[in-house]
Amino acid sequence: MRTLRVAAGAAGLALMGVGVSLLTDLRELPDVLVWLGGAIALHDVLIAPVVLLVGFTLVRGGVRGPVRGALLVAGALTAVALPVLLRPGKKANPSVLPLDYPRNWLVALAVVASVTAVWLAGRKVRDRRRRPVA
């Protein structure tokens, strides 16, 4: 196990070395470093605190599971949709970004909200049925 770990660690370092050597060959290295640092800052300073705050505020009590699920799915869909929603500038041709993305985003959020509502209602009915028996 230990030998395997050391070998894997060395392999990882070697692969990172390939990346570093490819990066140092680039004239644009300083710009890339700024963007790599920016990626950390974007997540650690902005995304993570906002997600934690939303979770702290909304994900509570007996409905925490479904609410968290809904927020997670809606958040992931929004993250993936951001580029198609926000891309500025002229498109190369009409077959690029051909869909009505703002409408699709609202449809997706509505579907997530409906599925969650049905799920919560179903849970409530199930709990009520169980209670008299218990």
């Binding site: 990346g19 890339v32 950390i40 992931a76 993936v80 970004l97 051909p98 997706a108």
Partner: protein
């Protein structure tokens, strides 16, 4: 005055090793798939010398599958990466921040992993919508950082091997040592992450996996939208071609016995129909019916040696990928055509009228349009 800095307190109960291991298994898988398919794409487009004449032309759907997987696994990594980083976020505030040289190096490697992972997923996603807000060129940087990320990932797994093993399954000793009352909440969180992966996949994957095209909400392409029901990247206008005049068009085949053909002469040669996909590096792909002359027949007539490579030159005036090359596997494959027709009709100018290359297992950017010249290389 004594300056006191207190790290934040996280009361959430699922920032634990079992949650991190569970999500990490899926995230690691997505990254490995993304890396391997990315390498395939890179070497297909920029083959080193020893590979240039031995790239396989089969399976005909090979590049469609690998590049579809590349983009799909990258999109699936969005919720997985965010969930994984949420799980381990409290470790960012570990106190004291650095305990030893080893600990410092370990944290540095994690920082490189996080930076590279967020960078790769974000730049890749933006590239699929042709949005380039950064001051560097996408391909070499995305390629270089991919090696950095996969290396940092392997190193991370080696460093955390004991923890990963202890929390690998629900019944692993480390998992059993965690508070039992968290198990159902953790299952609910993991199910939600799985649902998020399913949702982002379902709403984008139809751009290459066409049976799911009716669920497309957020893909930058729809396989049916474009001239002749097929998406386009560079139009004839963008390439500076316009509509070429039929009488003026000539195909030059340069080889041991060079010759020139008019469009009518090309049409009079034996025509073959093939079903092949256009598979773009940006992730979309669509299969279509192409009719035209076999490149192998054209090469035979020019007296090209069996193992010769071929250069395909476009009549386009602007933009990259004016010239593409192919090895003998592609050049001699009976599916490789100089196509004149698409889905039963003459090619649209945007699809390369009057003649374009269509070959199996090949990225869309190398399916040269508006072909004016084939050169047999030594």
């Amino acid at each position: 005055m004594k300056l006191s800095v207190t790290p934040p307190v996280f009361r959430g109960r699922l920032h634990d090793a079992r949650t991190a291991t569970s999500i990490g298994r899926w995230l690691g898988t997505a990254f490995v798939v993304c890396f391997v398919t990315g390498l395939i794409s890179h070497f297909t487009q920029h083959p080193p010398g020893w590979l240039a004449n031995s790239l396989p032309s089969r399976p005909s759907w090979g590049y469609r599958l690998t590049q579809g997987l590349h983009v799909a696994s990258g999109i699936a990594a969005v919720p997985l990466l965010l969930a994984k980083l949420w799980t381990v976020y409290p470790r960012l505030f570990a106190w004291p921040p650095v305990r030893s040289v080893r600990h410092a190096l370990e944290r540095l490697s994690v920082a490189m992993l996080v930076a590279g992972a967020v960078f790769e997923v974000a730049t890749g996603l933006l590239n699929t919508v042709q949005w380039y807000p950064w001051p560097f060129s996408f391909v070499p940087v995305h390629y270089a950082v991919a090696w950095l990320v996969v290396g940092a990932l392997v190193l991370h797994i080696a460093v955390q091997a004991t923890e990963i093993k202890a929390h690998w399954s629900r019944r692993s000793p480390g998992t059993l040592a965690l508070p039992a009352e968290d198990a159902s909440d953790r299952r609910s969180l993991l199910a939600a992450v799985g649902a998020a992966v399913g949702a982002v996949t379902l709403t984008t994957v139809g751009q290459s996996f066409t049976p799911l095209k009716d669920f497309l909400l957020f893909a930058p392409r729809h396989p049916d939208k474009g001239p002749q029901g097929l998406p386009v990247n560079r139009t004839a206008v963008a390439a500076g071609v316009g509509r070429l005049h039929e009488e003026e068009y000539r195909l030059v085949v340069a080889g041991p016995r060079p010759y020139t053909l008019s469009l009518d002469e090309l049409r009079a040669l034996p025509q073959h129909e093939v079903e092949l996909p256009i598979a773009c590096v940006e992730g979309w792909s669509k299969s279509a019916h192409w009719t035209g002359v076999r490149v192998a027949d054209l090469l035979e007539r020019a007296g090209a040696p069996e193992h010769a490579r071929v250069r395909v030159v476009s009549l386009q005036l602007r933009g990259g990928y004016r010239v593409s090359e192919m090895g003998h596997n592609h050049a001699r494959d009976p599916l490789t055509l100089l196509a004149l027709r698409l889905n039963g009709a003459e090619l649209d100018p945007d699809h390369g009228y009057p003649a374009r290359l269509i070959a199996p297992n090949r990225p869309g950017v190398l399916q040269t349009k508006w072909v004016g010249r084939l050169e047999v290389l030594a």
